[in-house]
Symmetry: D4
Subunit: 218 residues, 8 copies
């Protein structure tokens, strides 16, 4: 009744539908997960609380929970690995939940992921120090809250496409991520595109589609 799973999505997009758990009851998430699992489709649940996970775990024993990333995963098909590396670059320690949502999603979608955390531009040497390694990535995800300057500085230094993820980290005139979002949309650096505030999942999904271009067509 309450959900019409889009099984056709895998054909169109290359990946099955993903469950956005926030705002759904544990019962709803469990039922959707189970229906997909029974069809031997991969299950990915984002923004999942521990309660969501436990409801799923009860009926699907092999379900795994990534605490910091808030992700539920049930793998039912063999992982198609890509070789090109996705780099996840994050500004501060408080941005980690979003960065992890991006990194874990990308890994579960078959990508090799490198993490570059706590390299915000207020202490520039930390980023510059990692630059050689960062430049080896095929796609970059840049996660930052507050003034959201990281994607611009990064975007000015690399030739890979940069997907910017503003986070809601901050207070006051941050307006729950608005300051970082606007900064990223107005980036002076070219090659930067933006996803919704805290949307690590969306960034990883787009990064995967891009990374696949580099793989599959060869």
């Amino acid at each position: 009744g309450f959900a019409k799973i889009d099984y056709h999505r895998e054909l169109r997009k290359g990946f099955p539908e993903v469950i956005f758990c926030e705002g759904k009851t544990p019962y709803q998430v469990r039922e959707i997960a189970l229906a997909m699992h029974r069809k031997e489709v991969d299950v990915l649940g984002t923004r999942a609380s521990r309660e969501h996970f436990e409801a799923v775990k009860e009926v699907i024993d092999k379900a795994i929970y990534y605490e910091e990333a808030r992700i539920i995963s049930v793998k039912n098909t063999p992982l198609k690995k890509t070789k090109g590396v996705i780099g996840v670059v994050a500004a501060g320690t408080s941005d980690l939940p979003v960065a992890e949502e991006a990194a874990v999603t990308a890994e579960l979608m078959g990508n090799t992921v490198k993490r570059f955390y706590d390299v915000g531009v207020a202490g520039l040497h930390r980023l510059l120090h990692k630059l050689d390694e960062i430049r080896k990535c095929r796609v970059l995800i840049a996660v930052a809250g507050m003034e959201g300057a990281l994607p611009t500085v990064l975007g000015g230094l690399v030739s890979a496409p940069v997907i910017a993820v503003p986070t809601s980290v901050g207070y006051g005139a941050n307006f729950r991520g608005l300051s970082a979002l606007l900064a990223m949309l107005n980036s002076c650096a070219s090659g930067v595109t933006v996803v919704n505030i805290d949307n690590g999942f969306g960034a990883a999904y787009a990064a995967t589609l891009i990374n696949r271009i580099g793989e599959e067509e060869k």
Copy 2:
């Protein structure tokens, strides 16, 4: 004095610095263009008025003006063509200036571009009718104003990455493109990333970086 051209950018990004003409005087644009031209660097000027162009034309005879796209171009190096196609999909006739900014930029950066114009989702058959052709593109740019629904519908139908460009087309609660921008940032379809309102140039630049992944590594 007034400009410090970033000649090093070509090495870092693969493309020379681009001149954002709006807010600069024709004199400033001409001087910057001339300095670059003298170094035999490609000149690309966006958001250029006819006045900007005429100032440049006076000193660089081979300068070309793309009226609808508001772009000035001076080509000084051979065009490195990519094979993968970038599709520019636009919702309405009023979105054309932004769509053309994207299409012309992408062409000047060496991409093959296909235009799919006036295929907004209020008359869905127009889009569905072009779907086979659209699915052959390696990267898609989706341009729309008002409610900005096109990237979501498109993103649900294709496996290529979609770069969404909100336009300031509309009135009232459109708030100069805000409605389309927010819609695109909140897209239910996965694989959609967003650039600034009316930023056709930025979308084309990111699309080019992505398209190159598919080319250069082979």
Copy 3:
């Protein structure tokens, strides 16, 4: 003291006053419901919590609670049934509480209701698949959160009036429903009107007035 029930409303509008429970104490809701019930008027309470319901249930035994729709109903007059069907079309599973508020309200006001749930435009075939059935409805209510694209796509496909209900489903740049609200107000499709964020009740009320035009004048 605290409430002046508008008993005259039934004469003017065709329906008695409705109790908006949110922000009222269970005691206040019970007293208003009881006063109306004693006058043998139909009682409808919206945005009612279980606490509100229990307070009413104590004094009016036949009171019914629609959990998902958050509605309290006490039927004291025979239901005047209309024949024209109101279709309630909802984008995602998380939009269900609002869709149910609309559907239950419409049913309690005498309409026949058809539900089309989880047919968001990111998986377009789900909607197209139901189109024949949807086209048989006399009035449509389209419920969607996030980018709010459903009413536009729907409005482009049908000749019935569409009442769009933005929901607060989403996060980040959704700003509690603002993105969907603005999208719907800027809809490219004609024949779409909009009610407040999460206002399933208001959409059903307007749909009923419209549906009655088709009935009563014959």
Copy 4:
């Protein structure tokens, strides 16, 4: 090239595509109008300046311009008249252009229209005085700027559906119509739905679809 006219729209919606002239060049409007005219389709252009009209008039001699309503019309098919009356109720003299856009659109779509102008709620007797006549309308369009109170007061007095049109009339904290828009979306009166700021056309279109329900099914 620049426009893909949706000739199929008449079948789906009962009316051909309408040209939104603002933001299009006179040349573009003329070409679209001419293409439609040649197919013997009715042409309706909204938000048209005198320049737009003159460009059309040059090639379609029977084109008519409604100055205050800013509408261009070319009638190529016999008018299907409905009997049910649409009432257009406007608060102040400054709201007239929007009210006229609604009234003229409704007339061109075959409705009988009654105008009730300058009956804002700051002088309530003006509205109450017209109430008997207003109550005879099958659908109502309520146009108001500034604090946008008219649709609420009207909606409390009638049993017809009310379509509220906020206008950008006002200054300061009006924020170009935002105050009236928000007021209307938050209306305490039931049966009120809302369209975009200054969107007289959209209100008339929805009113026509509703009015037709009362006509055609009989």
Copy 5:
């Protein structure tokens, strides 16, 4: 240390300083109240929780708490009564806490107050029915949430000054009182001034200053 009570205020304004309790600890409120009480000054605490009151009650036995109005009062000087009546007019049951804050404040400042509650404009006869009584008031306070239309309708009917108080009652596009606030600031009716959202106290204070003009100068 933490507070510098402005004992001089009574001389300048005619009333002693008032304690805004929200955001202060019960301990802070008690200390300030006690210091004032010891100087035999009247104590008025607004937005006081029961916890605030109990802390004060412990040390000042004659302290009184007005639950719905959230007001603490300690009367240490004889009440100077004015004769002119202040009318408090409120739209809905949910607006009562704010209306009571206004009414109780006005009474504690020596005014005679008349309450007209639940007379919102969606059921206009309720207000019109009370009009004769309302017209006898020297100053009016109009309290309303949602679309905030009451002060405009009222202001069009009376010759007394109207102080409008927007409340945060509503949801969705109400944005915590913003819709009502903007509506009131844009009122078409003349003689309406506005205070902050939910600021019943401020309205009563200004109404008292006005009411005194009518008294004291005679």
Copy 6:
């Protein structure tokens, strides 16, 4: 046709309807003014341009134009003078047009007005220097742009009611008067009420109603 003059307003409010000229054509203003003039009613037009005035002057020779205040006046009834003084206090030279709109309106409505201009709080001594004179006023109108601090400082020093008028003077984060408006609504001083941005007329009207209380009842 286009205007329904509310001749009854004088009975209800004590003053005839006032013409808000902005957004009306010179022709419309002239016709409304003439109709009122023929009924020997006082004509007051606010936000009138010189073009508006000249259209009126053509048909009503005794019409007067107050340039800085942008007011048209035609006096047809004897002026009923009040004795209580209204003080108009303005922060900066740039606030003068709004201050003059207030002052001239108040004078035309029969009040004695005292002007205290360019006494902004950044140079506090200017205000303190005038305090004795200001304290003699029965009602105060405080006009300020930018940070809008004047009404708070003034309100803390006087026992008269203060009507605050935010102006759109400023730039950047002023957002056309929003900063001053919000500051005034959040004033720490009691007895301050607020009107719309740049609404000198509205402040004067409310001040007159208040001033009359002090006069007429004696």
Copy 7:
């Protein structure tokens, strides 16, 4: 893993990195504090809850907690005292937590601090009374919520630079500190600069850099 402490910062800025505790787990704060402590670096944690402090206290016995200021401090190097005084001026009792964050930060960074609390401009004599003492400070921090007028009045009276800190104290149209923030950015007084809402720490840091100019160069 989760944090890359910027030990180099002391060389660049003169102070080691500071821990922003909000949004970090007690475990994360403890680990960062411990790592810094082991390197004998001073530890400063802002926006720290008692839970954060207790986690740190467990492993660093000499850690101190400033309750009202919400600051954790571990001093490992001798305090370099400056002589120039920083004055912290606060408008109301509710602004104290932010004022204390500023004052304690400044003290821990080696400054002599003078506190001037509860001297808001609604009771101007309180501020004027302290003016001689305030004028002796080399740098001033002005903390205020609601209408945020204090920095303007202060800035008009002194020749020292004023750093304004808007607080989120207020309700309604305060929008969590936005009213005070905008007021301060639009200050008519010269020499006023602004930090983020509630950012007492940032104000103290900047004040310290300024105060040092006066010390170190001599």
Copy 8:
């Protein structure tokens, strides 16, 4: 009449009042300038158009106009030079008018100024290249539009206080400087304070007060 020049300001602040020309007529500016000039006070006019200047020039022959900075200056007292250098760092060519307003103001107030222009963070080497010179400045003014990242990167590299000036350079989601303003208020770097959008004058004034601390106390 219209202006009350604050001649006392020089005593309080160390500088005479400055004329904000925008929104004043050329006549008003001329009269204020002349009055000050006659008292042999220095005249500084900001945001002055060429028309303003010409009106002043007519009566004060030695008046000077700084075109790009939009500043009028009449020097009547000997310049008290400070030695400490103020650095003005600007991101892009389009930010020059604001940067020049800051630089010229600072020079006219007696400071030595160094300009570092077109060193935005999208091409980081340009800034790093100048770092040694920048570090020699006692106070820094950082001017940037769009994403406003410059002050954060700069603030992370230097120990001088940084005054950030957001500019309105940009388009779309820039919202006339809002993106840069919010970014700067949320800066991760410590020691950064912010002034209003485009307020080069205000930044220079505050920088001068700070620079003087380093000079005068020695």
